[in-house]
Amino acid sequence: MSDRRWLLPAAAAAATALLLVLPFYLGTFWLQTGLFAMSAAIGAIGLNLLTGATGQLSMGHAFFLAVGAYGYVYLASDSGPHLSGLGLPTPLAFLGAIVLAGVAGGLFSPIAGRLRGTYLGIASLALIFIGQHVLFNAESVTGGFNGRDVPPLELFGLRFDDSPELVVLNVPLGALERLWFLGVALLVPAVWIARGVLRGRPGRALNTIRDHEVAASVMGVPVARYRAGVFTLSSMYAGAAGALLALVFRRTVPDYFGMFLSLDYLAMIVIGGLGTAAGAVAGAVFVSVLPQLLTRFGDDLPLVAAPGSGGVSPAEAARILYGAAVVAVVLFLPGGLAGLWTRLRATASRHRSARPLTRLEQEEQPV
């Protein structure tokens, strides 16, 4: 145990350092993919707190992402002839967006608190449909079908935009490079806070609620308060992910925040591993990068399938692989990618190769 105390921070620091160096090398395509993955990771951590750790199935995650994205745009934009906005300083708008998403989650929690499992899952599906309906119709706030432009973030005089030009170490840093640093600056505390929550008292309380709600309340866990709290926290994570996503997109469109986005997030936490921050990050990276890889390097396959042959296009291959990954993980890798990592290490250290880890032990493993 003695070396563990410095090892983990060291590894984390190394990973962070690597993340900070990457934008000096990566091209636009990979930067953007990486940013999507970072935003997805933040959102997935939030969902993992709710669905993974507390066992509350939510299919409405995309709605809270939308609140974050549109919240930022509304708070940061100036009012125009067609569109209204509050014109707040952008960092304040960013925080405001996160708070707004949290409030939305808090408002939904009376409903959430009354419903169990599947009922909650499908009730939260209603959020998506109603939310998108509002996005399409509340044109003065959301810009309707065509969406709204996203004002670039400005922090301590640094604009997260292509202009004014900024060159560091001979590398021109455009909007995506700058946003990359913002993404890292958001992801690191997001992981850190989630780990804190999961490892401490609240985490144990949440797990007890997931495993046996009645038992939890018998043991004195204020179930309703914890459920409302974790719903709010998870929505705030989604809000941050949405606002970051809006900055990357530079334009928000309602079409994007549909049911498939919610399903993607559920897939991420299952593939990555339920109930841990590392699992959420691993799943988010997997789900965001896989289709990009296949599309990018699928050029050898004929893009337009020859008549009659009906070949599988890279995009379709990506979808099928993605679905297969969800199934395969549940069947063969309970614990997901993060669990695989833990198991591999356990095997490597030859301590308990004979016996698989119990769930409690898995959760204790540092990841």
């Binding site: 109603i130 119709n137 897939a267 299952v270 099928i320 199934v327």
Partner: protein, 296 residues
């Protein structure tokens, strides 16, 4: 007035089709406590097989083949995936069906490609006029077939050994197993029946007035979610009621959207979800669902 009657008839008929799909959800949920998100793809399988075969072997045999294939697909999902997944968390089982759905839907839509497939139904676009109200024959057929199937199913559920086994399994799985009921067989049967019902629903979702089966057909299966939840996920009566409520709400809100401007345009799609939320606020387990009681 005739518009109102027309909208109600349409709503009831579409609602009956939604009820068929919702019934499938409910059966699977009762037997295995899994929410089946792969239902949309079962529907597509049934429709696709019917559409491909009807030219060669005629409509009814093709429909039979479609129903059989969808039932088989349902059973295969149960055997190959769900039976093997050793997870206790039902959310995970629901998510695994999402994975199955993605795979199947992608492959089927690839096969359907750019076509709009006709299922070769005998009703075509004929309309019967009853007392000044024009109703498509397909609507009447849908209503008749759905009512027949639902009644048959409810009777079977009550009186056949399979139905008794299923109810027992839903009531208390362990006790049922101790009494000699083979739970695996019960859940296999549930998935097959749900697949078959989805295939019948596919037929009625793609006949006139919709142009035919294409890649967007599976979206309609989404409507069955609010239907199943509204009625109560573990209640077969609830599925019927939920389907009708969703069908009626959708039809009326769309038909009167001119007068319902305050809801925003295109409200017909969201209205069922609004109704669902309202019902859940009052009755968290749906209209006919069993309330889980836990007092501490």
């Amino acid at each position: 007035m005739s518009t109102f009657v027309e909208l109600v008839v349409n709503g009831v008929s579409v609602g009956a089709v939604y009820a068929l799909i919702a019934l499938g959800f409910v059966i699977i949920f009762k037997a295995t406590e899994v929410v089946n998100f792969a239902h949309a793809s079962l529907l597509l399988v049934g429709g696709y097989v019917t559409a491909v075969l009807h030219d060669d072997i005629g409509f009814l045999p093709a429909l039979g083949a479609g129903i059989g294939t969808a039932a088989l697909a349902g059973a295969l999902i149960e055997v190959l995936v769900l039976r093997r997944a050793r997870v206790e968390n039902h959310a995970v089982l629901a998510i695994v069906t999402i994975g199955v759905d993605i795979m199947m839907t992608t492959e089927l839509t690839r096969r359907i490609g750019t076509e709009v497939l006709s299922l070769g139904d005998p009703w075509q676009s004929r309309i019967v006029t009853i007392g000044g109200v024009g109703i498509a024959e397909t609507r009447i057929a849908a209503l008749a077939v759905a009512s027949l199937l639902i009644t048959a199913f409810l009777l079977a559920f009550r009186y056949t050994p399979w139905g008794v086994a299923m109810r027992a399994a839903a009531e208390d799985g362990e006790a049922a197993a101790l009494m000699g009921i083979r739970l695996t067989r019960v859940s296999l049967g549930a998935w097959a029946v749900a697949g078959a019902l989805a295939a019948v629903a596919a037929l009625f979702l793609t006949v006139f007035p919709t142009p035919g089966l294409d890649r967007s057909t599976s979206f309609a299966a989404m409507k069955a979610f609010p239907a199943a939840i509204l009625g109560g996920l573990d209640s077969t009566t609830g599925a019927l009621a939920g389907g009708l409520i969703v069908g009626l709400t959708e039809s009326l809100v769309t038909g009167y959207q001119g007068q319902l401007d305050f809801m925003g345009r295109g409200a017909g799609d969201v209205a069922p979800f609004l109704v669902m939320l309202l019902v859940l606020l009052v009755r968290p387990a749906g209209l006919f669902g069993t309330r889980e009681l836990s007092r501490v």
